[in-house]
């Protein structure tokens, strides 16, 4: 099968089942979707629908029961090169025994970069997320929002072509969430990263995305793919006031709730 070169990720008829004590649990059924290079795609759906399962498949942490996933034309067997992750639980995904700078440098160990290049990467990544002065702190000395910035800095330090985020802003307060959303938009613009995000926050999905994939059902299927045609660059004030914004958030909400 010929694969289109401008697809960063190709999800091809993916199904996922788990064996549980109560029998076979079917989580995903025949999910197909293509993520275009450079796009920001959000995956939304009701709680427990299988969003995180899909994300685990995309990162190569799990293998689908049926179907296949390809990253830039290469079928996935384990976590692929050029992918970085940001998870919801920053306290659990950062190492309390390493400083912020060392946390960021750790994934670069086998990248072939020299010591000074790694130090340079760490510096510039911290600068990108607005934490220039915090390299020598330990994660637990920082606020939640700052810790999530560290996770983002770690992600961009490896210069990924694909960034995968699982509910990245679910554990921070509302004001911090807006700041982090704008940081993610900036990072994506600066590095031209294809970004996939699982979220339960529909407004956030509309604000950030080029496309929203709505999962529904049990087992979950792709209910609809919604294009978000609000112009870039986006801003918390102007974009959220765009008449399209209200229309799209209502539409996605109705799809998630099964009202449409």
């Amino acid at each position: 099968m010929e694969k289109s070169v401008n697809n960063a990720i190709t999800i091809d008829s993916v199904s996922m089942e788990y064996q549980t004590a109560g029998g076979t649990k079917r989580v995903l059924h025949d999910v197909s979707y293509q993520v275009s290079e450079g796009h920001f795609v959000s995956i939304v759906g009701p709680s427990g629908v299988g969003k995180t399962t899909l994300l685990r498949l995309l990162t190569g942490l799990a293998t689908p029961t049926n179907g296949s996933i390809a990253v830039r034309g290469q079928e996935l067997h384990g976590p692929p090169q050029g992918m970085a992750v940001v998870l919801q639980d920053y306290t659990r995904s950062l190492m309390p025994w390493l400083t912020v700078a060392k946390n960021i440098a750790l994934p670069l160990k086998r990248s072939g970069l020299s010591k000074s290049e790694v130090a340079e990467r760490v510096m510039s990544s911290l600068e990108e997320v607005g934490l220039s002065g915090s390299g020598r702190s330990y994660p637990w000395q920082l606020s939640g929002g700052m810790q999530q910035r560290v996770s983002i800095a770690r992600a961009i330090a490896s210069r990924p072509s694909i960034l995968v985020m699982d509910e990245p802003f679910a554990s921070v307060d509302a004001q911090t969430r807006f700041d982090l959303e704008d940081l993610v938009l900036k990072v994506r613009a600066d590095f031209d990263i294809t970004t996939l995000m699982v979220t339960h926050d529909i407004d956030e999905a509309v604000y950030l995305s080029d496309e929203i994939v709505v999962l529904r059902g049990s087992p979950a299927e792709v209910r609809e793919v919604v294009s978000i045609n609000i112009p870039f660059p986006r801003s918390q004030v102007a974009s959220r006031n765009d008449p399209q914004f209200a229309h799209l958030r209502t539409r996605v909400y109705a799809l998630v709730r099964g009202l449409e």
């Binding site: 090169q81 995904s93 309390p96 390493l98 750790l106």
Partner: protein, 252 residues
């Protein structure tokens, strides 16, 4: 008044009270007699021992047995615990056996150890290792298993291999568990070193204690016990301080 009282270290009050009670019981209580030394007699006994070189060589032998035994236990048990902790199967299949060995008091294998090795320094070291190795290995394995799966998955996503995961995640994650196990093991090492010497005839403070007891030198025998209490306390304190520096992130 309150501030003046609270400025006294809490441990001082109970220590003074305990010494006073000891002194009174030894001087007036039913235990009063040749076979029981009061606090002041024990302290006098200890200070007279402290002027004898025999005493200090016995101290050195006991400390040597405890320290070498402790060191060997750590060198074997921690890597062993890591290996066991990495595999679910190994953990489950060794846990039963190790728990079994863990509860055997080292004192009951003294007769076997004497038969096999003889009443020597090496026998003492063997007993100390036996006393510690299973509990330290189990605790290490437990800590390694208990590493946050979110952290490990994050590392996998960044394509860090098994060795990196051990070095940067599993060992540090197990460090609190390991340090607690080591604190207990250090105290146990000292106790077992003395018991090996007292009952098993290995050289050291236990042997000296037996000799003093048989010679009727009650206050000196109590002095040895007092001395053991003091070094036990110092060792435990030293490990707690080291632990705070090494596992500085604990509880954060």
């Amino acid at each position: 008044m309150k501030s003046a009282v609270s400025r006294i270290p809490a441990g001082v009050v109970t220590t003074v009270v305990a010494l006073l009670v000891w002194q009174l019981v030894g001087s007036f209580g039913p235990l009063h007699g040749d076979s029981f030394a009061s606090a002041s007699q024990a302290i006098t006994g200890l200070s007279s021992l402290a002027r004898q070189s025999d005493f200090w060589s016995a101290v050195a032998q006991t400390v040597e047995i405890a320290a070498i035994g402790f060191g060997i236990s750590v060198l074997i048990a921690v890597p062993l615990g890591v290996v066991i902790g990495l595999s679910r199967f190994a953990y489950r299949s060794t846990k039963f056996t190790f728990d079994f060995f863990k509860v055997i008091p080292p004192i009951v294998i003294i007769p076997i150890a004497i038969l096999a090795i003889g009443p020597t320094l090496e026998m003492g070291i063997f007993l100390v290792v036996f006393a510690n190795i299973f509990s330290v290995a189990i605790q290490t394995a437990y800590g390694v298993r208990d590493t946050d799966p979110v952290l490990l998955e994050t590392m996998k996503c960044y394509r860090m291999g098994t060795w990196s995961q051990i070095r940067y995640a599993r060992l540090p994650a197990a460090a609190s568990q390991i340090s607690v196990a080591l604190r207990l093991a250090a105290s146990a090492s000292l106790i077992v070193a003395v018991v090996a010497s007292l009952i098993g005839g290995a050289p050291g403070l236990g042997q000296l204690l037996g000799l003093l007891e048989n010679a009727g030198k009650t206050s000196q025998a109590y002095g040895v016990v007092l001395f053991l209490g003091i070094i036990g306390l110092l060792v435990s304190r030293a490990i707690v301080l080291a632990q705070r520096r090494v596992v500085f992130w604990s509880g954060k």
